[in-house]
């Protein structure tokens, strides 16, 4: 064998072994586990084919988690991306207190989600939380924001948008600063309005960034559930149960590992589908330089 070949293989070996052992291998094992029953006490797992999938698909909580996650994603992703873009456009111009403003936008990114959750938990507290105090000024009564199924999920969405927008802003800001200034000058000479310039020049040039941000936002919508664990535990009445939270609950609260494995496979399939969709649809509209 060529010297370079085995040298290269030696160099990649540790990384590839670790990567496969804790990403691909568990993913494969999860799929296999989903075809067996959960071991209970001395009862060994038995092969059950796709029975676990059938019971998952008959489980109303699963469908609710899926619906919740869909609503959560559809609300969180566009809101955080649009706010991020607005923030980036704002701090990319000469603005009084620009550095301070940029810092304000970015700070939530540095906080652990669990710290964020604690702070917001306080905000949402009935009667003396900030939200109810503000509501009281307007003569509105007491709200149990997290205890009411109608407001609990929106409350989670607000927290997620607040946490993520500043992070995405950074990527837009980087892209904006890399744009050649003569483009704006040329547009100004031709008398193009700012709105027109934004729509015709800036946004198309930002498409690669938007794709990158969207991929991250989609992954986060399914991955980041720390605030759910701390703030609502999926409640009330499963109103804030997201898919990964349901996996956590099934696997590590009820210790039903087979069902948790099945749910994980469904989540992975969903993520794969979304990835294919994003790259298929969006990649065609992206102008790479």
């Amino acid at each position: 064998m060529r010297r370079e070949t085995w040298q290269a293989w030696l160099l990649i070996l540790p990384a590839v072994v670790l990567l496969v052992a804790f990403t691909h291998w568990p993913a494969l094992m999860t799929f296999i586990d989903s075809l067996f029953s959960t071991p209970r006490g001395s009862r060994a797992p038995v092969y059950v084919g796709f029975d676990n999938y059938q019971s998952v698909f008959e489980d109303p909580v699963f469908w609710q988690a899926l619906r919740n996650n869909f609503i959560y994603a559809v609300a969180t992703i566009p809101a955080s991306v649009v706010i991020a873009l607005g923030m980036a456009l704002a701090v990319n111009t000469a603005l009084p207190g620009r550095a301070l403003l940029r810092m304000a936008y970015f700070t939530p990114t540095m906080l652990p989600m669990i710290a964020v959750a604690n702070i917001w938990l306080f905000f949402y507290t009935p009667d003396y939380g900030l939200f109810d105090q503000v509501a009281a000024w307007f003569g509105l009564g007491r709200h149990n924001w997290l205890g009411n199924p109608a407001t609990a999920l929106p409350a989670m969405i607000v927290v997620a948008v607040w946490k993520e927008a500043g992070f995405f802003m950074i990527f837009y800001l980087a892209a904006l600063q890399a744009m050649p200034p003569d483009l704006a000058e040329a547009a100004a000479l031709e008398g193009s309005s700012r709105a027109n310039y934004l729509r015709r020049v800036t946004l198309p040039l930002l498409m690669p960034t938007t794709l990158f941000v969207l991929v991250n936002a989609v992954i986060n919508a399914f991955r980041l559930i720390d605030h759910i664990v701390v703030m609502t535990r999926g409640g009330p009445d499963n109103a804030t149960t997201l898919l990964l939270y349901y996996i956590y609950q099934t696997g590590f609260r009820f210790w039903d590992t087979a069902t948790a494995a099945t749910l994980t496979v469904v989540l992975l399939a969903l993520l794969g589908l979304l990835a294919a969709l994003q790259f298929g649809v969006l990649a065609r509209r992206v102008h790479y330089r």
């Binding site: 370079e4 070949t5 990403t23 923030m87 939530p108 906080l111 993520l271």
Partner: protein
């Protein structure tokens, strides 16, 4: 001009909204509990909430655990991902593109989602409830390999050739030519990695169950959910305490942080 001032006002309103939760947390943490929910500029400042929180839970141990965890992950990621990134960037070998594609799959299927599978593996290895078990799934990092590979590919080939002519070995060239030139990428990757793992919660929550292994985030959640009742002043103090090192580092090195996150995101 009025649309412009409207825009500025809007930007600032958003900024105020974005720091408000943090300011509110500071207010609560540094004042006696009686002032937690109403504002009074004359309210006395106090550090008692911090002292109470510090004494009520083993936060010193949690700090140690998180520091160990973050250091272990950072060092191991650098040592493991550097040679792999170099091989993918500058060497030709059969199977390179397929293996690289397999590596990149991790960007979509992240260890955070594979709680059940990874827990089982850790149980089989008998390392449940260890700091090593928290770190292991993140050591072979596709993100790190990808980032370093992109950087190594930009190193001028002439520098590599010159070192080769001087008789440098493969590892010698990697160490003396590539690693020094990739310094900004290492800083960027390091900052992203440290802040990610300082803040990581779900996997550590699942895999740890004792004081000697729990990182700060899990310790904080245990502290906040047990008998603290509704003493928000103390919970908020604990919350700020756990975020403080990262927050202070961010305020001090704001420019580097922002640039690092940008660098890590540009492909």
């Amino acid at each position: 001009m009025s649309t412009r001032s409207l825009e500025i006002a809007g930007a600032w309103l958003l900024g105020v909204l974005w720091v408000l939760p943090l300011l509110y947390a500071f207010w609560t943490a540094f004042h006696p509990a009686a002032y937690a929910t109403h504002f009074d500029i004359t309210a006395p400042l106090t550090l008692r909430n911090f002292r109470t929180a510090w004494q009520a839970a083993p936060f010193a141990r949690y700090f140690l655990n998180t520091t160990l965890l973050v250091t272990l992950i950072l060092v191991a990621q650098f040592v493991i991902c550097t040679p792999a990134a170099f091989a993918f960037a500058r060497m030709t070998f059969p199977g390179r593109d397929i293996i690289f594609a397999i590596v990149l799959l991790q960007l979509m299927v992240m260890p955070d989602v594979l709680l059940v599978g990874n827990y089982r593996i850790m149980a089989q290895l008998h390392i449940v409830d260890t700091i090593l078990a928290i770190a292991l799934p993140y050591l072979g990092s596709a993100f790190g390999i990808f980032l370093l590979r992109q950087t190594f590919r930009m190193v001028p080939q002439e520098l590599d050739d010159a070192a080769r002519l001087e008789g440098s070995t493969l590892l010698g060239r990697l160490w003396r030519v590539y690693v020094p030139l990739a310094r900004p990428t290492y800083i960027a990757y390091g900052l992203v990695s440290v802040s990610y793992h300082w803040n990581n919660f779900l996997w550590p929550l699942v895999i740890t169950n004792s004081v000697t292994t729990r990182p700060l985030t899990v310790g904080l959640s245990v502290f906040a959910s047990t008998d603290q009742g509704i003493d928000w002043s103390i919970i908020t103090a604990a919350t700020l305490m756990t975020s403080a090192p990262l927050l202070v580092a961010f305020l001090l090195f704001q420019r580097q942080f922002v640039q690092s996150f940008m660098r890590a995101g540009i492909k």
